[in-house]
Subunit: 197 residues, 2 copies
């Protein structure tokens, strides 16, 4: 068991920008489902939400989820099954927030990431400490397409620093970015520094 | 420019194990090409090698590479082009090692990862410091399938600790594992701790 506040993550397929900065809904992809579910389970995230407003998209993904949870996929690869038990498909961010509030008694503190800096930009070290000491749940949002719509960004409690690797290039896949952010916030170095193991 | 030793990475499609611990060659996948190329560029890795013994597999991937480097892909998405400029397809690990030796004057120090611990298992912090102080090139190997063949593991200079997230589950995708390992070895925390910026 991880100590500290419960952590949820969500992958937003709407509202996000396309290349021309129009607000769109992106397709759910199989690779985002698999890779991020495995990372979420590795870092003991309470639930990984895929958020999409269109019911047919959610139904398609639900079929895939069930194959890995209850069908042959889960028999063939029990580790994948275990990761997928923590995945849920929901229609909107508001629905996810309400669900977390019902589950924990608190509205989640929303965390986003962006390539730019904002007045409420926070370091990984600080957020890691807040999660460690916290009681209220955290909900970390990842965007698809060309990034999360501005209104959602402005309504978040924390914006994480951009992930930089010491070069001038910052175009990680969302699968890689989610893995790195979970490691920085919840990974071993966190435990080591806090003397938990 | 990153200070310290040059770092190369390679994704091994042979020799690796399948689920029954037989040594096989796995297929190159488009997602491993894209995601790991973007992570490698973000962390300023000198070159990302995809290693596959079968020429038809390499030729197929070469076509995809060229689409992003010189074709419409590179026009549509110049960031992807930039990442793909550091990708190379080679037939064997020996060929990669020889190429790095010709380029740098030194045989690379090979680094692997494994879910188990070995006598030459090294912490991320220690390897980060060795890269920072080092002159000889490092070559970090990532496996596909059910992991890198034992002979290659035993011939590596360092074996990194397994990536654990504070839970009992350790089944990251190779795309996520590569991102996390590059961040731990070359990411910002490295710079911060070493006072470089």
């Amino acid at each position: 068991m991880r100590l500290g506040a419960p952590v949820y993550i969500a992958l937003l397929h709407y509202p996000v920008y396309n290349k021309n900065m129009e607000v769109i809904a992106t397709s759910i992809t199989n690779m985002d489902l698999h890779d991020i579910a495995r990372s979420a389970r590795t870092y003991n995230v309470t639930r990984y939400y895929l958020i999409h407003p269109y019911e047919p998209q959610r139904r398609l993904m639900q079929d895939i989820l069930e194959y890995w949870r209850d069908g042959y996929g889960g028999e063939y690869n029990p580790d994948r099954r275990e990761a997928f038990l923590r995945v849920a498909l929901r229609a909107s961010l508001a629905e996810v927030e309400d669900e977390i509030e019902r589950e924990t008694g608190f509205k989640p503190l929303k965390v986003t990431t962006d390539a730019r800096r904002y007045p409420n930009t926070v370091s990984y070290r600080r957020l890691r400490e807040e999660i460690r000491r916290g009681e209220k749940p955290f909900l970390i949002l990842f965007g698809t397409g060309w990034g999360i719509e501005k209104g959602v960004m402005l309504a978040s409690h924390y914006i994480l620093e951009p992930v930089m690797g010491g070069a001038d290039y910052n175009h990680l896949s969302v699968r890689a970015a989610a893995a790195i952010i979970l490691d920085r916030l919840l990974g071993e170095s966190w435990w080591e520094e806090n003397g938990e193991r």
